[in-house]
């Protein structure tokens, strides 16, 4: 039972918290004072300031209607001149250095923000389990992940420092401008980090002290987890506002003068879809990395008990990752729609023009993710007695996935020699050219997701014999549900070729609804059917094939590669702008990289991240060696169906 008996400690903690709170409020107080000061100054000066001067009326670059005008509160964006506005280390590309440091910070930042989300869910499941033994398994899993996150947290802070230094050393003019725009919230951002650290340490170090199963202190601990996640999300949103501003600036006039309203700077046209996409992406990435950690420990475990524990952990992590991966393409689709609506040029550059091939790389990665998930589930069924009856279905599921993949990654713009172009008789191929457009892509991704859901349903029932009296009806319903979903997705995909683009975009909604219906209704009916089912034999945890563990590694690497590719894509779409249409990049590195170079740097980023992360995993395994009693899983013990 947790108890604070030291009164002084309690008072000290309260004083510290109050100080942090006051510091957080400081910028607001400063803003009020400055506003008041401005009013007074305005009253003193009878003459109206000239257009563009501080205090004059400025027209917002983005906002219209009643929000169209604001008071000019800052200087215009400086014109960048090379080499005066830039720093460099010899002849090496400054942009690449910044790219690498940014990507590494983002990887670790995503990891330390995603793991608490994952941990919260695990701890909550653990606390709500009636069976305390199962509850403890979830609790131990959550605690173990938090331990890794804590090591990664310090790496994130170091990488954050490196990123700031890189900005200051190589892009001082650009960084100075952004800092001047975001000045009212930068302070809050920095202080939130302190608060995050404080809450994180209380959360982690208070784990054992507050762990009374599912009692009051456990719920308090979960409450702290909630606060930790809330702060993490706010931090992530604040970091995203910078990139939102760089892509679609608002709250400033045409020349980049700040118009006094920080909310407009934050709430840019692309901010919300970017944030939603990022949260889902982070959560999926977190699941992937935890899965890779579990796979690492599974492969390096010496005893069956340990193997069983990490086999189970990898399954849970993979499940969490996929749960967030499934809505991700739809969030991405929404983001792209908003980008097109914001600037047609940006949308075309991304999806049909200069950067279209980067999307093909992304498509390859997404397809790899779904094939790998299915492959993992096939392997996982290998340790479930009774799953043999579903083996013949595997190759057909794989066939659906491969056909969808081929359609999904067929480019609209083909890379070819002039001779190949001549032989093909035109830029578009009469057969595969049909797969290069959005109708085909939507159909492919929805089919892949629906297939994955079906594989999961088979996994759920692999070692069970359904005993409910309505089993026959239930099976017929499920067959009908999946068949209708596929037919609907395919029909709408084909129909999309014959209707206007705006209606075609709308068709993605019923396609998604079909997919999500299989996910929610299909899985719900399947789970209901499994209630009271007879177990053929318990799941043989720890006896999954090593191929399954390697598949989890591939899954996690594909996640990180996708993040690298898409981050590069999102950043590159600004082309020669630091801040779109406001601040031009006049450095020698303002050109768009060749695909090969971008691919190499992305691969290097992935490799670097995994090298550092494997080191973190290794550190964690050292700690585990000192405390082997932490592993509590029972070999060969089945986890109840609810955890599937």
């Amino acid at each position: 039972m947790f108890s604070v008996n030291n009164k002084k400690k309690k008072i000290g903690a309260l004083i510290l918290l109050s100080m942090i709170g006051m510091l957080l409020l400081l910028p607001f107080a400063q803003m009020d004072v400055s506003a008041q000061g401005k009013e007074e100054a305005a009253a003193e000066e009878s003459a109206e300031p000239a257009e563009g001067e501080i205090g004059s009326k400025g027209k917002d670059k983005q906002y219209g209607g009643v929000n169209e005008f604001g008071i000019v509160s800052g200087p215009p964006a400086p014109e960048m001149v090379y080499p005066d506005s830039y720093g460099s280390y010899g002849d090496y590309q400054s942009r690449t250095l910044l790219w690498v440091s940014n990507q590494q910070h983002l990887y670790f930042g995503s990891f330390v923000l995603a793991v608490p989300m994952f941990v919260f869910v695990m701890e909550l499941i653990g606390a709500t389990q009636k069976d305390r033994k199962v509850g403890k398994k979830f609790d131990d899993l959550a605690h173990e992940m938090m331990k890794i996150s804590l090591t990664a947290y310090s790496v994130t802070a170091i990488l954050g420092g490196i990123l700031i230094f890189t900005f200051l050393a190589l892009y001082p003019g650009f960084f100075g401008y952004l800092a001047s725009i975001f000045k009212p919230v930068m302070h809050i951002y920095a202080l939130l980090f302190i608060l995050e650290s404080g809450v994180l340490y209380v959360y982690y170090y208070g784990w054992d002290a507050m762990n009374d199963g599912n009692g009051n202190w456990k719920w308090t601990h979960l409450g702290i987890s909630c606060i930790l996640n809330a702060i993490g999300i706010v931090l992530m949103v604040m970091a995203n506002t910078w990139i939102g501003f760089m892509m679609s600036p608002a709250g400033v006039d045409e020349s980049g003068r700040f118009l006094g309203d920080i909310w407009k700077v934050i709430h840019t046209p692309l901010m919300v879809p970017i944030v939603i996409h990022r949260i889902l992406g982070n959560a999926a990435f977190g699941g992937g990395v935890v899965g890779a950690y579990a796979a690492f420990r599974f492969l390096s475990s010496k005893t069956l008990e340990e193997k069983a524990h990490y086999d189970w952990m990898s399954y849970i992590a993979m499940f969490m990752g996929i749960l967030n991966l499934i809505p991700l393409p739809f969030a991405g689709y929404w983001l792209m729609r908003e980008i097109y609506a914001y600037r047609q040029q940006m949308g075309i550059t991304l999806m049909g023009g200069l950067l279209a091939w980067v999307f093909i790389m992304q498509a390859t990665m997404i397809a790899t993710l779904f094939i790998t998930v299915n492959y993992y589930l096939f392997q996982a069924m290998g340790r479930m007695p009774g799953a043999e009856r579903y083996y013949p279905a595997f190759k057909f599921l794989l066939a659906i996935l491969v056909i969808s993949t081929i359609s999904w990654l067929t480019p609209h713009t083909l890379v070819m020699t002039p001779a190949e172009l001549k032989a093909m008789g035109g830029q578009q191929h009469p057969v595969v050219g049909n797969y290069g457009v959005m109708s085909a892509k939507n159909t492919a991704i929805n089919t892949m997701i629906t297939t994955t859901v079906l594989t999961f349903c088979l996994y759920q029932r692999a070692n069970r014999i359904i005993t409910v009296p309505w089993a026959w009806k239930g099976n017929c319903f499920l067959i009908l549900l999946f068949a209708m979903a596929w037919v609907n997705i395919l029909f709408l995909g084909i129909y999309g070729y014959f209707i206007p683009a705006n209606v075609r975009i709308g068709l993605s909604v019923p396609q998604v609804v079909s997919t999500l219906t299989t996910l929610f209704v299909g899985v719900a009916v399947n789970t209901k059917m499994l209630k009271g089912s007879k177990e053929v034999a318990p799941i043989r945890w720890g006896q999954m094939s090593v191929r399954g563990a390697y598949a989890l590694f591939l899954l996690a690497v594909a996640f990180t590669w996708t993040m690298a590719v898409m981050g590069y894509l999102r950043s590159s779409v600004r082309l020669h702008w630091h801040v779109n249409e406001i601040m031009r990049d006049n450095s020698p590195w303002a050109f768009t990289n060749p695909l090969g170079y971008a691919g190499n740097i992305n691969s290097m980023n992935v490799l670097l991240f995994w090298t550092m992360l494997l080191f973190v995993f290794w550190l964690s395994s050292l700690a585990a060696k000192k405390a082997p009693s932490k592993v509590t899983a029972d070999a060969g013990e089945a986890v109840p169906a609810a955890s599937h």
Binding site: G353, L354, T368, H412, L414, V415, L421, N502
Partner: protein, 335 residues
């Protein structure tokens, strides 16, 4: 037992499946009922179904089990034949490499999908590597001779100087500028509308609503306003500008001059061209042509003249109305 009656029946079904493409060709492809793309697609589907059916007969009816280690190369070769030979016109090497990459991954998944299939697949390889009997030894020697030989050949081939044309990543639809000046008037491409997209009431016709005019005869006396604009656009296409010389009578990019160009002119009948673009994009491309392609439009392979020098702004808008009407596509909108 696989009796004669069943065998005859199965052969007939298989024949029908394989005959499907031929039937469709006779009934559709040859008469123009279906286009070349659909025709090729039907052939693809027919062959895949036929191959699956054949495999089923071989395994379940004839009782012949092909070893897993052999299944992999067979599947690989079949996939290669499909993408290289059957799929016509030939696809570029870059796409072939992507498709074969996916096939490699999936065939590997297929061979290792269960523990049994993994053992069946890897067993002979393990036996070749570690067993001592003559067959294994001979296989081992052959493998260790052939493998380095293949690698050497590949290295030699890679190192060999090549004089072929380099591949081009052509940006077919580059991002347009925010606005353009045509005949001294500023046209903002994000928001501009085609002034000749009008309904019977003279109001702007919402994209999609023009479908009621598709297939209509624009040459009769009392035609709706929209079809009048289509007709005038057609006059520009076939007369004033002579677009058909390059883009073809059917707007499929196969005009009499087209084969003098590489790439041949844009095929408007393909769902990947004007159907994906806003009318203002097409306006920009017609008005400014190849010379005004943006920097990202590498390698600027366009022989399109800047038609603003020969046509009026109205004529350009009208010919765009005609192009969409003729192909039955709708311009992209975001509303």
């Amino acid at each position: 037992m696989f009796n004669i009656r069943k065998k005859t029946m199965l052969t007939q079904v298989l024949f029908l499946l394989l005959a499907l493409p031929v039937v469709s060709w006779a009934g559709g492809g040859a008469t123009g009922f279906i286009d070349a793309g659909t025709f090729a697609l039907v052939i693809e589907v027919g062959l895949v179904l036929g191959a699956i059916f054949l495999g089923w007969i071989v395994k379940h009816k004839m009782g012949i089990t092909i070893p897993k280690l052999l299944q992999a190369p067979i599947l690989y070769i079949l996939a290669y034949i499909n993408f290289r030979v059957i799929l016509q016109p030939p696809i570029p090497f870059s796409l072939l490499a992507m498709y074969m990459g996916v096939c490699t991954l999936v065939i590997l998944c297929y061979c290792t999908i269960t523990t049994e299939s993994w053992e069946a697949f890897s067993g002979p390889i393990a036996s070749m590597l570690r067993d001592d009997h003559t067959k294994a030894k001979m296989s081992r020697y052959a493998t260790f001779l052939i493998l380095p030989g293949l690698i050497a050949a590949q290295t030699y081939n890679t190192m060999l100087p090549k004089f072929g044309e380099p591949i081009e990543l052509r940006t077919v639809h580059p991002a347009p500028p925010a606005s353009i000046n045509v005949h001294k008037k500023l046209v903002t491409l994000q928001t501009a509308e085609n002034p000749f997209r009008v309904g019977d009431d003279g109001e702007y016709l919402k994209v999609g609503d023009e479908s009621k005019y598709f297939g209509g005869n624009s040459w009769t006396g009392d035609v709706p306003r929209f079809l009048q604009e289509v007709r005038e656009g057609g006059v520009v296409f076939f007369g004033t500008a002579g677009c058909f010389f390059c883009h073809g009578d059917n707007l499929d990019g196969r005009g009499p001059f087209s084969f003098a160009f590489n790439p041949i002119p844009a095929n408007f009948a393909d769902p990947g061209t004007i159907a994906q673009l806003q009318e203002t994009f097409v306006f920009w491309r017609v008005a400014k042509g190849g010379p005004d392609l943006s920097r990202e439009a590498f390698p600027w392979a366009s022989a399109m003249p800047p038609w603003e020098k020969h046509l009026t702004t109205n004529e350009i808008w009208k010919v765009i109305v005609f192009e969409y009407w003729h192909t039955g596509f709708f311009p992209r909108t975001w509303g």
